[in-house]
């Protein structure tokens, strides 16, 4: 990838997510030599690893399938992660359920909070603990910036990730480690896009911004960048005004 510093060795948690795949493709095209993919489904990890390996003669790709929400599985997997001495760990997994469905079904709400909130925080915590250098980057969301009636359970799981990352940034201050929070706006991945012909390019643009942001080690990255200003306005709106809006 022209003009962007890519990691020599990287680990990706939730490696079958559309955004993670796009970032890894950029890394491999830029010369990343070692990738370790962690995810839930062995079949899907194998497909993604096969894709990345076919893209370069110079990359070695390994996979590890486990329950991403199980603390014991996380501890075990992070042992392998630290043995690799990665330049970057990208934590990319998450789910998005319909707010209305979760209001009907507390078990689904519980799953939303655990998969998208608790689990990424535990992975980040374990990685920050196990590593002594490099970047731990976590995918958050602009939805974590303020609760809205349309998606506050998803949003609060992302908000939890933000508070935890903030604390980890405080914790590693002055060390050789960095912790980065990436907040994408709604992105046209196959999951979210209707058949807009321009759709695919957007994922690639977001991936590029993520790769650049990770290389720079900026603490909080909004992608695309205009979301920083939009969310600043939304966060600063007085509650009586905000609650009257149909956002």
């Amino acid at each position: 990838m022209a003009g962007v510093l890519v990691p020599r060795r990287a680990v990706v948690i939730g490696a079958t997510s559309g955004m993670a795949e796009a970032v890894m493709r950029l890394w491999v095209s830029g010369g990343t030599g070692r990738l370790h993919l962690v995810g839930r489904s062995r079949e899907r990890l194998e497909a993604v690893a096969g894709d990345l390996a076919a893209r370069s003669d110079a990359v070695e790709v390994t996979i590890h399938a486990c329950d991403l929400t199980d603390p014991a599985a996380i501890s075990a997997a992070v042992g392998e992660v630290s043995a690799l001495d990665p330049d970057v760990v990208l934590i990319a997994h998450g789910a998005m359920y319909e707010q209305a469905d979760m209001q009907e079904d507390l078990a689904l709400a519980d799953q939303q909070l655990r998969v998208t909130g608790v689990s990424p925080v535990l992975w980040a915590e374990a990685c920050v603990d196990a590593l002594d250098r490099g970047v731990v980057a976590v995918i958050g969301s602009v939805a974590g910036d303020r609760g809205r009636r349309k998606n506050y359970l998803y949003g609060s799981s992302k908000g939890m990730v933000e508070r935890a990352v903030e604390g980890m940034q405080h914790r590693v201050h002055g060390s050789r480690q960095r912790v980065v929070l990436i907040k994408p706006g709604p992105t046209a991945t196959p999951m979210t896009a209707a058949l807009d012909p321009g759709g695919l390019a957007d994922v690639d643009e977001v991936a590029r911004s993520i790769a650049v942001g990770i290389a720079k080690g900026a603490p909080v990255l909004y992608v695309p960048g205009q979301w920083r200003a939009i969310m600043a306005v939304i966060r600063s709106m007085p509650r009586p005004v905000f609650n009257r809006l149909d956002l």
Binding site: R44, A194, L200, A201
Partner: protein
């Protein structure tokens, strides 16, 4: 239901979209559709071929993974939603390119095979189907079959089969060995059609890639620019990625009118004339000049546009091409783009493939209702008289009789259709 439009933006159509995301779950989703479905990708087909109003659209874009690459043979196996842009970007620096590419890189492998696309090297390489080694097809009866090459009639029906024989899940394509991403190319100015045919003939054996742009607006014309090139041996270091300027919205009126066309055509002609010399060109502007303007389709405004692409047998091709140019001038409807190419003799392997021996001519027209329709009737008569046919990937309106006459493999083809798959085009031209 979600509204979807084809590249020509003629009319949005409502679809129930089902995203296919991985190879394991895709066949089940194809088999469980309650209504007739159709695989869709980047929606670069112009007319009604990629639409299935009121039905299911299987969105193939999530199936975007490479599966294996053999650096000895150049055989690339990939999922059907992989784009040609991705393949070229990934493999050109490694010394391999697509054996055949159309004029846009924003198409999927599955869509390219289903239209048996051709490119600037048709005269030496044939169409894409000539380079497909194997296909994996999922049918709505739940079967998944690997088709090993053109000895299989289902393979021949699927190449150029407009997506109607099943859903292409993956394909193996034999890539073309190159030194790198650079082309050696030059532009040659020609003054009329006779000159076009003579430049074309003299370039045939020495240039692997050629295409001509014709100025539709000049009187007594047929002048234009003939672009020809080869994969370069000499390879300079990689360039910075080019910037794409995107049409941000659809203007309320078409920006393509007789005045803008005259200005564009004169300007383009003057520019190209000044660049007429052999030079190293990156493959991107060489193969995909229009991809430099993102969403250029929007330029034609809210009513949309048609592309009219025909191929006529080369024996006596000068007359029909000249007559078409005349009819377009008389109509005053002008065309932003007039693209001419002499095709090669290699027969396509697809039962319903468009490419054939002859001369192909492609033209864009803004939708202007009756006037556009009347011009197409006149062009159809010229093409039919010459024994030619129209390209389904571009079409939204050809008469059924013209389709039947142009595609003699049609009767054989229908037996291989998947009864659970249907499109606006198949209902218009084949009755179901």
């Amino acid at each position: 239901m979600t509204a979807v439009t084809a590249w020509g933006n003629l009319a949005p159509a409502e679809h129930s979209i089902v995203a296919l995301r991985d190879r394991d779950s895709a066949p089940g989703l194809v088999a469980s559709a309650e209504r007739p479905g159709l695989a869709t990708g980047l929606m670069r087909s112009y007319g009604d071929e990629p639409l299935n109003t009121g039905g299911v659209a299987w969105d193939m874009r999530g199936l975007s993974r490479l599966i294996a690459f053999d650096s000895e043979t150049g055989d690339l196996t990939c999922e059907a939603g992989v784009t040609i842009a991705d393949i070229q970007r990934t493999f050109a620096p490694r010394g391999w390119m697509m054996p055949v590419t159309p004029g846009t890189k924003h198409v999927t492998v599955g869509g390219a095979i289903a239209n048996d696309v051709h490119g600037k090297n048709h005269h030496v390489a044939g169409s894409l189907g000539n380079h497909v080694v194997a296909l994996t097809l999922a049918r709505t009866d739940g079967t998944v079959t690997t088709l090993d090459g053109p000895s299989d009639p289902m393979f021949r029906a699927t190449v150029g089969g407009m997506g109607l024989t099943g859903v292409i899940l993956q394909a193996t394509i034999r890539m073309h060995r190159v030194a790198g991403p650079w082309m050696s190319a030059e532009d040659v100015v020609f003054g009329d059609l006779d000159e076009f045919f003579s430049v074309s003939a003299e370039s045939r054996d020495t240039y692997d890639y050629s295409v001509a742009w014709v100025d539709i607006t000049t009187h007594g014309g047929g002048r234009g620019i003939f672009t020809r090139g080869n994969n370069a041996v000499e390879q300079p270091p990689a360039p910075p990625p080019g910037r794409v300027v995107t049409m941000p919205f659809t203007p309320p009126l078409s920006l393509v009118n007789s005045l803008s066309l005259r200005v564009f055509n004169r300007g383009y002609f003057a520019l190209k004339r000044s660049l007429a010399r052999e030079a190293l060109v990156h493959y991107d502007p060489f193969f995909y000049p229009l991809d430099g303007i993102g969403r250029w389709d929007r330029m034609y405004g809210p009513r949309g546009f048609h592309q009219y692409q025909c191929v006529v047998p080369s024996a006596g091709a000068r007359e029909p091409v000249s007559e078409m140019l005349k009819q377009i001038r008389v109509s005053g409807l002008g065309s932003f783009l007039g693209v001419l190419k002499v095709m090669g003799d290699e027969p396509p392997i697809g039962t319903m493939s468009f490419p054939r021996e002859g001369v192909t001519f492609a033209l864009d027209f803004p939708e202007r209702g009756d006037a556009t329709a009347a011009l197409f009737v006149r062009l159809d008569a010229i093409v039919s008289e010459a024994g030619g046919r129209l390209y389904a990937a571009k079409d939204a309106r050809m008469p059924k009789e013209m389709f039947e006459a142009g595609y003699p493999g049609l009767d054989e083809f229908v037996a291989y259709r998947d009864p659970g798959i249907s499109s606006e085009m198949s209902r218009r031209l084949m009755g179901e």
